[in-house]
């Protein structure tokens, strides 16, 4: 059964540490070129079609700014 996932990043709370990017197994996430109010390059889904909703990025995010959603298709 196939799944699709998506993440929602609380942009203003993200510190751009890149830990989520390094731990996404399928290369969904990247750090943005633009910055948030604190001057950090926040994380976002660069390749949203790849996300499986595995929650790995959210689990390792030190500031817990990622919420994960998953649906079966």
């Amino acid at each position: 059964m196939a799944v699709r996932g998506a993440i929602e990043v609380n942009i203003e709370s993200c510190k751009g540490c890149g830990v989520c990017v390094a731990n996404c197994p399928v290369g969904t996430i990247a750090l943005s070129r633009s910055v948030n109010g604190k001057g950090y390059n926040y994380s976002y889904m660069e390749n949203p079609e790849k996300c499986t909703g595995c929650t790995n990025c959210a689990v390792v995010c030190p500031d817990t700014v990622i919420t994960v959603y998953r649906v079966k298709i």
């Binding site: 510190k15 830990v19 959210a58 689990v59 390792v60 030190p62 817990t64 919420t67 994960v68 959603y69």
Partner: protein
Amino acid sequence: MNISDIIKPENKVYGKSGLLLDKEMHYCPGCSHGTIHKIIAETIDELDIQEQVIGVSPVGCAVLAYDYIDIDWQEAAHGRAPALATAIKRLYPEKYVFTYQGDGDLASIGTGEIIHTCNRGDSVTIIFVNNAIYGMTGGQMAPTTLEGMKTATTPQGRSHITSGFPMKITEMIALLPGVVYATRQSVDTPAAERKAKRSMIKAFKSQQLKKGTSFIEIVSTCNSGWKMTPVEANIWMRENMFPVFPPGDIKDETGF
């Protein structure tokens, strides 16, 4: 399928624990302290013991831990958290009591308190954040600093000839009969984080046995103090800290 079809409340599979307050943590980007706070909050949430927990926060970067997790807290003087936890536990034996301490706090100024709390076998949980450095004060050597590691006070690298060897506190206290559970974990990968959380749950649950102290060391990064990016710091930790501080259970007499 559009992203808006996926991002709906009924499809949510992971989000911030309700015990983590909205206040933004002051920690540097990528700091292990934030991830460890998260697993503590999730542990308390899952055990449904929010009203029964009292945390003791340290002196060190985590001095403001009481601002981030929605439970009762007491702030200790530097290194004295285990003594305070003992007092709290004896006054309120039905509460779950834990300390949260860095390696400067626990393994240096507080060495006496931690050894004697573990030796008395007070049924409290000790959370020991070992980032091999004094983070808050600018990256000075800690007792846990690796040999050869450059810090503000060991610019040539730590040498055992002048400064002794990296101190393995968890192995030391595991020898004491008062300790019921001693484990070393990390939070650098999703798998490690999930395993550390299972250990955290076991450590808290072991307080119900009233059989002794539970001790959970988390090998951590201080990327600012180590002068690396957060991702580099996680790699450096695995390559350099794990050979000296290998993750895994050192003692487990909980029976669960």
